[in-house]
């Protein structure tokens, strides 16, 4: 997986998101406080927002190019990029099974993927790894918060994406639940090998899940590197950024 953002610019208030980077890690953390532009960055990559300038490419495919004339903009359904928003956004009128199967066998045909182990992305296997097999017949409204997030993740995986974008998948959950879901995300990472961008403001998620981390502040990349190089152990939260010893403000 090789994702490149070149000169990408998106006006936000009160600042503009400006991104210039190339990624090839398996799991990349996007770390920063709320309002740093993390979600907007994911939306640009997923094709849900059009940048005002710059070029986004994934594995040699141009996803969007606002600088060329005519402009290029690949719609989200043709990008083969999975997106799991913070609240999961499950379809309330569909059963868990129908949610899980919504994108199954569709985007996989459209997105030309290179070397992704898609034979593992079957309904039975994905639901087993996420421990949601027993939920298939349930209505979405009866699921707990943790179950909803796992179903949302399973739904995105079953569409066989070539890149998966996770927007704070564990935010807003209580500590015991987070402790249980963190290993679940690690299992997904190890079992399916789908490259992931993991947006978070929790350093322990970066430390435990990510191979590389980008630190965002005010819409710009402020630091980048291996998690162990950027974070140091601390009392609370469990890790803090090395060269900014004060912990980032807690976010809800």
């Amino acid at each position: 997986m090789k994702l490149t953002l070149a000169g990408v610019r998106l006006p936000l208030t009160p600042f503009a998101l400006e991104m210039d980077f190339q990624l090839d890690a398996r799991v990349t953390g996007i770390f920063g406080p709320s309002g740093a532009g993390k979600t907007s960055l994911l939306e640009i990559i997923a094709g849900l927002r059009r940048p005002a300038a710059g070029r986004v490419t994934l594995d040699g495919t141009v996803l969007s190019d606002a600088d060329d004339a005519p402009q290029v903009f690949l719609p989200p359904e043709r990008r083969g990029i999975g997106y799991v928003p913070q609240d999961g956004a499950l379809f309330p009128h569909l059963s868990v099974r129908d949610n899980l199967l919504y994108g199954h066998g569709r985007s996989s045909e459209k997105a030309a993927r290179a070397g992704s182990p898609d034979e593992k992305l079957t309904f039975a296997h994905v639901t087993a790894v996420l421990e949601i097999s027993a939920l298939a017949g349930r209505a979405v409204g009866t699921l707990s918060g943790g179950e909803q997030r796992r179903v949302a993740l399973g739904r995105a995986l079953l569409a066989a994406p070539r890149l998966l974008l996770l927007d704070e998948p564990l935010a807003g959950l209580d500590t015991p639940l987070r402790e249980r879901l963190l290993p679940c995300l690690a299992r997904v990472r190890d079992e399916f090998g789908v490259p992931m961008l993991h947006v978070t403001h929790a350093p322990d998620e970066v430390m435990e899940l990510c191979d590389e981390v980008l630190v965002l502040a005010q819409g710009r990349l402020s630091q980048r590197g291996r998690p162990a190089g950027l974070f140091v152990a601390a009392a609370s939260p469990r890790y803090v950024l090395r060269d900014r010893m004060e912990p980032l403000p807690p976010q809800g």
């Binding site: 997923a46 928003p85 009128h93 919504y102 994108g103």
Partner: protein, 222 residues
């Protein structure tokens, strides 16, 4: 009830149902465009569509009469091209009813579409669904209850249409006379007692439609 009352009741329900069928596709499409898209002239169209709610119905009827009459721009063309007569026929009743209930349908349907989280539509796109598939598998089912409520309201509004109808359709017994027109005519002729059963039918129909509409609207928000 006399056969005349049955005929009038049947004609009223039929005209209102037909006008609802005519306005459903454009009404739902316009409501979706208003709820989801930004386009030039949007606020102008919004205002135009709402006008029949506030302009005196008789004035709307006059506009329709001038437009659809034999010498009107649209009416003349329809007659020359298709041999269709509109004014002072049952068609005029349907057209007047459609124009008057259109705003109610569009407003209710718009609120129904606005109640569907754009987030769900975006996620459906990232799962590989085309905009068309997203509409039919996510947007429409989630808005369906509100859309049905809007349709029922538009139908109920159509049942009672008077002002615009009387201008373009006139009182032609057996052809353009609806419940509302008949009530007015009977009272006007001094036959108050003949108006009572018509009133009873009107209230019963309206009660049923409004009750159904409210139930649909409530369950949607529950």
């Amino acid at each position: 009830m006399s056969s005349e009352i049955w005929q009038i009741t049947w004609f009223t329900v039929w005209a209102s149902a037909l006008s609802l069928l005519l306005i459903l596709p454009p009404g739902v499409a316009l409501a979706w465009l208003l709820a989801r898209k930004h386009w030039p002239g949007k606020s102008l169209i919004e205002t135009l569509v709402a006008l029949p709610l506030v302009v005196p119905p008789v004035a709307t009827g006059l506009v329709l009469l001038k437009l659809l009459g034999r010498r009107g721009a649209l009416g003349g063309w329809l007659e020359r091209t298709f041999g269709l007569e509109i004014v002072f026929t049952w068609r005029a009743v349907v057209v007047a009813t459609a124009v008057m209930s259109f705003p109610l349908l569009v407003r209710t349907a718009r609120v129904a579409f606005e109640g569907v989280s754009p987030r769900l539509e975006q996620v459906a796109r990232t799962l590989g669904a085309s905009p068309w598939r997203v509409f039919w598998t996510v947007t429409f089912p989630l808005a369906a209850r509100g859309l049905a409520a809007g349709a029922v309201l538009a139908f109920a509004r159509g049942l009672g249409e008077f002002g615009a109808t009387v201008m373009v359709a006139g009182f032609i017994p057996g052809q353009t006379v609806t419940l509302a027109l008949s009530i007015y005519q009977q009272v006007n002729l001094g036959h108050d007692e003949a108006a009572w059963p018509l009133l009873g039918v009107s209230v019963t129909l309206a009660f049923g439609a409004v009750w159904l509409g409210e139930r649909l609207a409530q369950r949607r928000t529950a």
